[in-house]
């Protein structure tokens, strides 16, 4: 691995391991109160029965902990990893700190797909998930084609393409909302806010392969992202096929983000704020450090936000707006105390 100063490694290890205690602690939190002692006992029983042949009979508490809370925490873990990782990698590829995973039009596309399904095909099982994924990917393809001129896809064109595609699909969402009835409208609004309440083991198994593949690609390209962030001409003269490499990063990001938001709805802000926090903490732009740490901190961020969503009130809050409400002031604090240090030193 990189010969990095000792302090950096200490930071890295601490942040990399942080998701574990947060994950475990989250199993004790929920809308339905279960005493911590009981949670421990249920978990212990389940572990014991996994190693023996005895059938597990943990009852209603077991169902709550293992079939409601656990898949939800796992979804938060995956979502946090995916959103933060894509934010970090796209910021590098676009050489722009204000980019997040939605720059390519994915959010609006997925939102339009989900709105279509919720308004016109509400009875078809998992249709909103399928259409959200399909339209998220379609939106990216449109952005990419819009930006492509004479075999090249300049960054400025991609950003503009993303703005155009986002505008079109947003208008589409408005029209769908206009033509639908109040009941279904409520469903669409709920989806667009972003929430983890649809987490089940089935859903997780469906999105897991795409998520792992996408993250694997970005993780393996972590060093190459450094070269891509030097800009088009420099990367080219260093020997990088920049068109191909950039497309691979964008495609991997699009696929995994679309998979996540097809389940959760639009959860913003993580892709923007988490990589910035990491850059400010470690004071290096090296993506071999930024990518894994963003993934870990993204997971911590979304799991914690969802814990709050589940436990702040007797009813559940949508986690999407909550992410912004936690993230924005924290980001502001870092910005004021540390300045834009991660970008201009």
């Amino acid at each position: 691995m990189t010969p990095t100063p000792g302090r950096l490694r200490w930071y890295m290890l601490a942040i990399l391991l942080l998701p574990i205690p947060v994950f475990v602690a989250s199993m004790f939190i929920g809308t339905y109160y279960i005493p911590p002692g009981v949670v421990l006992q249920v978990i212990f029983n389940r572990i014991v029965s996994a190693f023996s042949s005895a059938p597990s009979s943990s009852g209603v508490y077991g169902t709550i902990i293992f079939d409601i809370r656990l898949p939800r925490i796992v979804l938060a873990l995956l979502g946090g990893i995916v959103l933060a990782t894509t934010g970090a990698s796209l910021q590098g590829v676009f050489k722009n700190p204000l980019v997040d995973s939605y720059i390519l039009g994915i959010a609006a596309g997925a939102g339009f797909g989900a709105a279509l399904a919720l308004a016109f095909l509400p009875s078809v099982l998992a249709m909103s998930q399928i259409l959200a994924f399909a339209f998220g990917v379609l939106a990216f393809l449109l952005t990419f084609l819009a930006a492509r001129t004479r075999g090249e896809t300049p960054i400025v064109s991609l950003v503009l393409g993303g703005i155009i595609v986002t505008a079109l699909f947003s208008a589409g969402i408005s029209l769908v909302e206009f033509f639908t009835n109040p009941n279904q409208l409520a469903g669409i609004v709920h989806w667009l806010m972003g929430s983890l309440d649809s987490a089940t083991w089935n859903v997780i198994l469906e999105i897991l392969p795409v998520t792992i593949a996408g993250f694997g690609v970005i993780f393996l390209m972590r060093w190459r992202l450094n070269v891509l962030s030097m800009g088009e001409e420099e990367a080219k003269s260093l020997g990088v096929n920049i068109g191909r490499d950039r497309l691979i990063v964008m495609a991997a990001s699009t696929l995994m983000v679309s998979a996540i938001i097809s389940v959760t709805g639009i959860i913003g802000w993580i892709g923007l704020v988490v990589p910035h926090i990491v850059r400010m903490l470690v004071k290096t732009p090296d993506n071999r450090v930024i990518i894994p740490l963003s993934a870990a901190l993204g997971a911590v961020f979304l799991i914690t936000a969802d814990d709050l969503a589940r436990s702040l009130f007797v009813f559940e809050l949508p986690v999407g707006p909550l992410c912004t409400i936690i993230g924005a002031p924290f980001f502001l604090y870092l910005l004021k105390t540390r300045g834009g240090a991660a970008w201009r030193q």
């Binding site: 100063p5 590098g92 190459r224 962030s229 080219k236 260093l238 290096t284």
Partner: protein
């Protein structure tokens, strides 16, 4: 063996305004060729054609006998290192991280730099004398040091040819000479064929084996610096009166300008 760099009958145009034409040039390993000429004469355009960042309409650029347009970017980067003009970078990578990027052309897409790549990067950093700065952010060093790290990055590519676009631009007086001395040393010690563009005839005179004078997209004169750089040629290029002064056997170009007079 064929020349390290060979350009024949090159023509390139940006629409109607500007044209590069009839460019032919060969550079051997270990030699430094300087492109000298006023702003807009086509020096940068020529360097970009040599690195296939621009595609000429006619003619051919060969490195080690191979057409640059028939290579992929990786193969080209292993033959030609390109040092862009000193610029303010967007990310504060350390000097070592920047130089390490010179190794990317030898790696597959998912590969991470190995200890061998680190060794080659550190060797290149040492060659340009920046070892003490290797952990410093590349944004916090001087313009001259930044230019030297970009040269180190090109050295880490282990190319046959080194192309430099105005390596002295934005540098202070001393740093201009530090960088040029380094360029010449690298050419000699590593046997690289160097092509660079410069603005100062005196620097061209001091540091090149061959000078190509360029004016409106053409090479108007090509040869040894002391043969090519003279009052008539300078007058033709810049429309300016100069005199050649010989001091200690060295030729210097002195502009015939006296402040406050005439």
């Amino acid at each position: 063996m064929s020349e390290a760099i060979s350009i024949r009958g090159l023509r390139f145009s940006y629409g109607l305004d500007f044209e590069l034409r009839d460019i032919s040039l060969t550079v051997e390993r270990g030699n430094v060729t300087t492109l000298l000429g006023p702003n807009g004469c086509g020096k940068t355009t020529l360097l970009k054609c040599m690195n296939a960042l621009l595609t000429p309409e006619e003619g051919i650029v060969q490195l080690n006998g191979k057409d640059v347009l028939r290579m992929d970017r990786g193969e080209l980067a292993r033959l030609a290192g390109f040092v862009p003009q000193s610029h303010t970078p967007s990310f504060p990578y350390s000097v070592e991280d920047v130089v390490l990027m010179g190794r990317v052309s030898c790696m597959s897409i998912f590969q991470q730099p190995s200890s061998l790549d680190y060794a080659k990067a550190d060797d290149a950093i040492e060659a340009v004398g920046l070892s003490v700065l290797k952990d410093r952010p590349y944004t916090q060093i001087s313009g001259g040091e930044r230019q030297l790290s970009l040269i180190a990055r090109a050295i880490a590519q282990e190319p046959t040819a080194l192309l430099l676009d105005e390596p002295t631009a934005h540098l202070d007086f001393k740093n201009q000479f530090t960088v040029l001395q380094m360029v010449r040393k690298v050419a000699r010690e590593r046997g690289m064929a160097v092509v660079m563009s410069l603005h100062d005839p005196n620097q061209a005179m001091l540091f090149s084996d061959t000078v190509a004078l360029m004016s409106s997209g053409r090479i108007v004169s090509l040869g040894k610096p002391e043969e090519v750089i003279g009052p008539e040629n300078i007058k033709q290029l810049y429309g300016m009166d100069t005199e050649i002064i010989v001091h200690d056997g060295r030729k210097l170009v002195m502009p015939l300008i006296w402040p406050g007079e005439r």
